[in-house]
C-alpha cells in the first residue's frame, strides 16, 4: 500500500511540474513583458532594462520558471497588474465561492445518481428503466448554462423562491447557501444523468457474476444484491467518471458563475482576460489544473480503498 501511495504521489508531483511548465511557457508567448506593461509605451529603454533586471526578466526561460514556481510553492503568485494586490489573496477570496459551488454540485450529482442508477438497474428492461434512461439521455444533452437560465426563469422570476443571481457573502450563511442552490442544481443534474447511466451499466454488468448468483441463491432480493454486493464492485467505473466529472464541474462552474453573477474564480478569469491581466489568468489556470491533478490522485487512492487488488499494482 505504501509503495502504491508513494508511486501515485511521484506521478502527481511530475504532473504538476509538467503542467505548470506548460502553463508558464504558453503565457510566455504573449508579446511584451510585465515590465513594459507596467511602465507603458512611453518608457525610456534604460528604465525598462533596469526594471527588467530588477524583476529578473533578463534571465533565461528555465531560470525564470524556477523562480516563478519556487515563489508559488511559498504561496506567492505575484501581483495583479490591474488591482496591484497579491494574486494569491484574490484567488483565495474567489475560491470561497467556486469551491463550495463545485462541492455542492458534486454531492448533489451523487445524491441524485445513486438512487436513480440503482432503481434503473433493478428494473432493467422494464418500463421504469426505459423512462429513467430516456430522462438521462435528455439530461446529458442539456447545456448546463441554458438549464441555469431556465431555472432562473422558473424559480427566481416566476416563483420568486430563490435569488436570480449575485452572492451575499458568507457572513450570512443561509443566504449564501441559498444563492448557490440554483447554480449547483444547474451544474449537478447533467452530471447526475451521466453518473446514473454509468452506475446502471456497471451494476447490470455485475449481474452475470457468480457471487451475485450465490447471493440470489441464498435468498436475497434483487435490490439487496444490488446494494450489498453489486454496488461495491460497480464503484470502479463510477469513481473514474466521478474523477473526470470534477474537472467538468470546475469548468462548468466557470461558465455557471457568469449566468448567476457569482464572484468566483470563473468571473475573475474572464475579467482578467478582458483586462489583459495575464498573471491572474496564469495563476487561476494553474490552480484549476492543480485541482484536477489532485482529484486524479484522490481517485487513485479511492481505487485502492475500493479494490484491494490494486494496492499491489
Amino acid at each position: 500500500m505504501l509503495r502504491y501511495l508513494s508511486r501515485r504521489m511521484i506521478v502527481m508531483g511530475l504532473s504538476l511540474l509538467a503542467a505548470s511548465a506548460l502553463i508558464f511557457s504558453v503565457t510566455e508567448l504573449v508579446p511584451g513583458d510585465p515590465a513594459s506593461f507596467m511602465l507603458g509605451t512611453g518608457a525610456q529603454p534604460e528604465t525598462l532594462a533596469a526594471l527588467r533586471q530588477q524583476m529578473g526578466l533578463d534571465q533565461p526561460l528555465p531560470l525564470r520558471y524556477a523562480a516563478w514556481a519556487g515563489a508559488i510553492l511559498q504561496g506567492d503568485f505575484g501581483t495583479s497588474f490591474t488591482y496591484r494586490t497579491p494574486v494569491a489573496g484574490m484567488i483565495l477570496e474567489r475560491l470561497q465561492v467556486s469551491l463550495p459551488l463545485a462541492v455542492m454540485a458534486l454531492a448533489l450529482a451523487v445524491a441524485v445518481a445513486l438512487p436513480v442508477g440503482l432503481y434503473a438497474a433493478a428494473r432493467r428492461g422494464r418500463a421504469g428503466d426505459g423512462l429513467v434512461m430516456a430522462a438521462t439521455q435528455l439530461g446529458i444533452a442539456l447545456p448546463n448554462f441554458w438549464f441555469a437560465m431556465l431555472l432562473v426563469l422558473v424559480f427566481a422570476v416566476k416563483l420568486r423562491w430563490l435569488p436570480a443571481g449575485g452572492f451575499p457573502g458568507w457572513s450570512d450563511p443561509a443566504a449564501a447557501l441559498g444563492s448557490l442552490i440554483l447554480p449547483s442544481l444547474a451544474l449537478a443534474l447533467p452530471q447526475a444523468a451521466i453518473l446514473a447511466r454509468v452506475l446502471r451499466s456497471a451494476l447490470v454488468e455485475t449481474q452475470g457474476q457468480d457471487y451475485i448468483r450465490t447471493a440470489r441463491a441464498k435468498g436475497l432480493t434483487t435490490g439487496q444484491t444490488l446494494r450489498r454486493h453489486a454496488l461495491r464492485n460497480a464503484l470502479i467505473p463510477v469513481l473514474t467518471i466521478l474523477g473526470m466529472q470534477f474537472s467538468f464541474l470546475l469548468a462548468g462552474a466557470i461558465i455557471i458563475e457568469n449566468v448567476f453573477y457569482l464572484p468566483g474564480l470563473g468571473r475573475m478569469i474572464f475579467q482578467a482576460i478582458t483586462q489583459r491581466d495575464l498573471i491572474v489568468v496564469q495563476s487561476a489556470v494553474l490552480v484549476l489544473v492543480a485541482a484536477v491533478i489532485a482529484v486524479t490522485f484522490l481517485v487513485d487512492l479511492a481505487y485502492a480503498a475500493v479494490d484491494p487488488r490494486l494496492r499491489r499494482a
Binding site: 506548460l22 504573449v30 444533452a141 447545456p143 448546463n144 431556465l150 447490470v204 469548468a251 489568468v281
Partner: protein, 270 residues
C-alpha cells in the same frame, strides 16, 4: 434500441441539413437589423420569432448550426488525426518508452479541461472561433489516443497479426492494414460522442465569449444575448437551447445505436 438509432439519425440529419442549407438560403437576411420588429413572438412570418435586434431567430439558428457543427467537426478531425496515430503507435510499441511517453502526455493534456485550454489560448492570442476549434481539438486528442490504444492492444495478440509479422510486414504497415480497420467501428462511435460533446463545449465557449465572435451567429452567443431578455421574451432564450439539446441528443442516440449495431453482445446486456 432501433428507435433510438432512427430518431438520433433524424435529429442529427436535421441539424446537418439546416446547417448545409444555411450556406445558400435562410428564410430572412440576418445581416439586416430591423429594430422595429424586435422580440416578436413566433408567427407565420417568423416561425421562431425575432431577437432583440429584430433578426429572424430561425435564420439565426440555422446559421448557428453551421458554426456549431463546423467547430465540433473540425475538432473531432484534429482529435482523430493526431490521437489515432498516437494510439496506434503506443499499441504497436506497447511497454516501451514510446508507449509510456504517449500515455503520460495523454494524462497531462487530460488535466486541462477544454475550457481551460480555451482560456489560455484566448489570454495569449485574443478571442476567435479558431480558439474554440483548437481548444476542443486538443481536448479530443488524448480521448482518441486512449480509445485507439485500448482497442488495438488485444488485436496485437491475435494470430493474423502474427501471420502478418511472419510475412515480413513492419509495425507501421500492420497498424494500418490490420489494426486500424478492426478498431474503426469503435472510433466511429467515439467520434459521434466527441462530436456531440464538441457541440456542447462550443456552445459553452461562445456563451462566455471565447468562441465565435460577432457577427458570426452561434447558439451559445444567441443564448448569451438572450439572457437579459429572457423575462420579456422567453422564446429568445428557449429556441437556441432547444437546438443544442436536440442536436446533442440526436448525436448521442446515433452513437449508442451505432455501438449496439456494431457489437451484438451489447444487445443482451441492455
Amino acid at each position: 434500441m432501433r428507435i433510438g438509432l432512427i430518431l438520433g439519425g433524424a435529429l442529427a440529419g436535421l441539424a446537418l441539413a439546416s446547417a448545409a442549407l444555411s450556406a445558400f438560403w435562410t428564410p430572412h437576411d440576418v445581416s439586416q437589423l430591423a429594430i422595429a420588429q424586435k422580440l416578436l413572438p413566433p408567427s407565420a412570418a417568423h416561425w421562431f420569432g425575432t431577437d432583440h435586434l429584430g433578426r429572424d431567430i430561425l435564420s439565426m439558428a440555422m446559421l448557428g448550426a453551421r458554426t456549431s457543427l463546423a467547430v465540433a467537426l473540425v475538432a473531432v478531425g484534429i482529435g482523430m488525426g493526431l490521437g489515432v496515430p498516437l494510439g496506434l503507435l503506443a499499441a504497436a510499441r506497447r511497454g516501451t518508452w514510446a508507449d509510456e511517453a504517449v500515455m503520460r502526455g495523454n494524462d497531462l493534456v487530460f488535466a486541462f479541461p477544454s475550457l481551460v485550454i480555451a482560456i489560455l489560448i484566448t489570454a495569449v492570442f485574443g478571442p476567435s472561433a479558431v480558439n474554440a476549434i483548437v481548444a476542443i481539438g486538443i481536448f479530443n486528442i488524448p480521448v482518441f489516443a486512449r480509445v485507439t490504444r485500448g482497442a488495438a492492444l488485444p488485436i496485437w495478440t491475435l494470430d493474423y497479426i502474427r501471420a502478418a509479422r511472419v510475412a515480413g510486414k513492419g509495425a507501421a504497415l500492420i497498424s494500418l492494414q490490420h489494426v486500424l480497420p478492426n478498431v474503426a467501428s469503435l472510433l466511429i462511435v467515439q467520434a459521434t460522442i466527441q462530436f456531440s460533446l464538441g457541440i456542447l463545449a462550443e456552445a459553452g465557449l461562445s456563451y462566455v465569449g471565447l468562441g465565435a465572435q460577432p457577427p458570426v451567429p452561434s447558439w451559445g452567443r444567441m443564448l448569451a444575448e438572450a439572457q437579459t431578455m429572457a423575462v420579456l421574451a422567453p422564446h429568445v432564450a428557449v429556441i437556441p437551447g432547444l437546438c443544442i439539446v436536440l442536436t446533442v441528443l440526436g448525436l448521442n442516440l446515433l452513437g449508442d445505436g451505432l455501438r449496439d449495431a456494431s457489437d451484438p453482445r451489447l444487445r443482451v446486456l441492455r
